[in-house]
């Protein structure tokens, strides 16, 4: 039985590796190991580990300057790393990574149509002096169809709305027929219906087998939709399914906000609080048992009566004093 200190603020268990039951049998198609990145002489990422499997929709979450974009760029070999490795496995190793940059990075005032903009992304893979072949044209048409942009294929890109522009960028990435999609803040600056539409697109791309990694500031939507969240602030603070990351502590540490921040409440996160052991006794018949989400070490025979709230370490059944505590 785990002994609990009196009035001890027990932190939530911090994950640094995925513990998805359903994904454990699939090997990862992207492995990021011990990445250190410096930019302008200052450390931006330290000891970052990340594994992504096909079919996963992963959210990279963190404050501005946390290193989310830097991590994406490091995976793409756009930013040099001081240490660590990025590897693609299986079929992903034979394919390009589909990169969807932030919307403002694209020259929307260029006189090109949507189709030409999507086709331009396969240029590099063509090599010099080669024209796009029929299979490239088909890949472009499939990408346009997948992002529901076929009816706008001949429209100049400058005339598109924000949501349509985002879909063009996704189509550009899909034209490469990648196994992995990296999206940098695709939802920023878009209204709710557009975000909903794009979320549906990313979810279905993941369901089709793509590994989709996106950075986002929309925490509520991320918790609702993503398979896995990675909280990052220069290093990985926590990683897990949205239900595994329902403890406020990890989010507080990532965003450095107060525990009373209204967004944390809106996210439905559980607060940490002092937990006090007030005695041990066997569970009584019919007594509701409160089981923590997180399995914990220790024997299950004894029962500890605790007062307080928060997540706990230890196995067993915890009975809370009436009216106090959630777990």
């Amino acid at each position: 039985m785990t002994t609990l200190d009196q009035h001890h603020n027990i932190p939530c268990e911090i994950f640094t590796e995925t513990t998805h039951d359903q994904c454990l049998e699939d090997p990862p198609i992207l492995s990021v190991r011990d990445i250190d990145v410096d930019l302008g002489g200052r450390p931006v990422l330290r000891g970052v580990n990340l594994e992504v499997r096909q079919g996963e929709l992963v959210g990279l979450i963190g404050p501005n300057g946390a290193g989310k974009t830097t991590l994406l760029r490091t995976i793409l070999h756009l930013t040099p790393k001081r240490r660590g490795s990025v590897s693609l496995h299986g079929h992903a190793a034979r394919r390009k990574i589909g990169y969807v940059p932030q919307r403002h990075e694209f020259a929307w005032d260029f006189p090109v149509t949507v189709r030409e903009a999507v086709l331009s992304n396969i240029t590099a893979s063509l090599g010099l002096f080669r024209r796009p072949r029929i299979e490239h044209q088909r890949a472009v048409e499939r990408a346009l169809a997948r992002t529901d942009m076929k009816h706008l294929a001949d429209r100049p890109v400058g005339e598109l709305s924000g949501g349509q522009r985002q879909r063009v960028l996704v189509a550009r990435a899909l034209a490469l027929q990648p196994a992995i999609l990296l999206l940098d803040e695709p939802m920023t600056g878009l209204d709710m219906p557009t975000q909903e539409m794009l979320t549906g697109l990313f979810r279905s791309l993941a369901d089709e087998g793509h590994a989709v990694i996106m950075t986002t500031h929309d925490l509520i939507s991320a918790r609702a939709v993503m398979d896995r969240l990675v909280l990052i602030r220069g290093e990985i603070i926590a990683s897990g399914t949205p239900s595994e990351l329902d403890c406020a502590q990890a989010w507080v540490e990532t965003f450095q906000v107060g525990i009373d921040n209204p967004l944390l409440a809106a996210l439905g996160l559980k607060e940490n609080g002092p937990v006090e052991e007030v005695g041990k006794r066997p569970a009584r018949e019919g007594e509701p048992k409160h089981e923590c989400n997180q399995p914990i070490e220790g024997e299950g025979a004894d029962h500890v009566v605790l007062k307080g709230s928060g997540r706990l370490h230890g196995t067993g059944h915890f009975v809370f004093s009436k009216g106090v505590g959630r777990c």
């Binding site: 302008g40 760029r73 793409l76 070999h77 756009l78 390009k96 990574i97 990169y99 940059p101 990075e105 694209f106 020259a107 005032d109 260029f110 006189p111 090109v112 149509t113 030409e116 903009a117 331009s120 992304n121 240029t123 590099a124 893979s125 063509l126 010099l128 002096f129 100049p156 400058g158 550009r172 490469l176």
Partner: protein, 286 residues
């Protein structure tokens, strides 16, 4: 004012052999600058284009003073500036427009000092700054034509790559394109276009030949291939009519061409079929 017939007669007059040469060089320059200038305008490089145009001047001046090939001197100076600017603009964090401003003013001043050491410098300076119909030697024409063909050839062969880099540098880089190479390529093409045009139109106004036809074409078209074709066409027409008018009235050629280009831009800005200021108001009212 000369009638068009009289102008054509003058073109064939052996005593006026500089005239058809000037017209040919003006038209060829306009075509090359229209194509290169499309990239300058679309990539927001007008300032850098101006810097390269001004930096060509000390190369021309030094070549002039030592009696070397003007084209070579101009090319060396232009390409050197182009490479420096391309390297500086790789890291977008650096506010490069101040550095460019410093570089091009400094290089221009160097050119003025160098040319002041040459005998008869005032006349030469006038020609360099403002262009001269009479100052184009016959032996320069073949080199200019070859150079033009080379620039146009490079732009056509590497069109897709340049376009991919211009649309989204980071995605292009992620896809494996050598962004620095294509940046330098565009800047080198700008230098070559400028060197060829400077003798006709002068180094102060050559920027207009780069920017104005392409900017006008942008108002008239939403497709890049059409825009580049129109830019070359508009520039050529302005060159032909500019040489004609300047020959008729003894106006400076370069300035006349630029005035015609400016008028064409203003007309397009007002009356372009889709984007014209006046046109869109009329369409809006309906």
């Amino acid at each position: 004012m000369l009638t068009p017939y009289e102008f054509i007669q003058d073109l064939f007059n052996p005593m006026l052999s500089f005239l058809p040469r000037a017209l040919l060089m003006a038209v060829v320059s306009a075509i090359v600058c229209g194509l290169v200038g499309s990239h300058v305008v679309l990539r927001g490089m007008a300032f850098i284009g101006d810097a390269v145009a001004h930096s060509v001047f000390p190369g021309l001046a030094i070549a002039f003073v030592i009696g070397g090939s003007l084209a070579l001197g101009g090319m060396v100076a232009g390409v050197a500036t182009a490479v420096i600017v391309a390297l500086l603009s790789q890291h977008r964090r650096v506010k490069e427009d101040s550095i460019i401003g410093v570089l091009f003013a400094g290089s221009f001043a160097l050119g003025v000092i160098v040319i002041s050491r040459a005998p008869g410098y005032a006349g030469s300076l006038q020609d360099f700054l403002f262009g001269s119909m009479t100052g184009i030697p016959r032996e320069d024409v073949p080199a200019a034509l070859i150079g033009s063909a080379l620039v146009v050839g490079l732009l056509i062969v590497f069109h897709r790559q340049i376009l991919a880099v211009s649309l989204d540098r980071e995605t292009a880089r992620a896809g494996g394109l050598n962004v620095l190479f294509y940046d330098v390529l565009v800047y080198v093409c700008v230098s070559m276009a400028v060197v060829m045009s400077v003798q006709t139109i002068g180094s102060i106004l050559v920027l207009a030949l780069l920017v104005t036809p392409a900017a006008t074409a942008r108002l008239l078209s939403d497709r890049i291939a059409t825009m580049m074709t129109l830019a070359a066409l508009i520039g050529s027409l302005a060159a032909i009519f500019g040489v004609y008018i300047s020959w008729s009235f003894d106006y400076p050629t370069g300035a006349t061409i630029v005035m015609l280009l400016t008028l064409s831009f203003v007309t397009a800005w007002l009356f372009a079929p889709r984007h014209g200021y006046v046109t869109s108001r009329i369409l809006h009212k309906r």
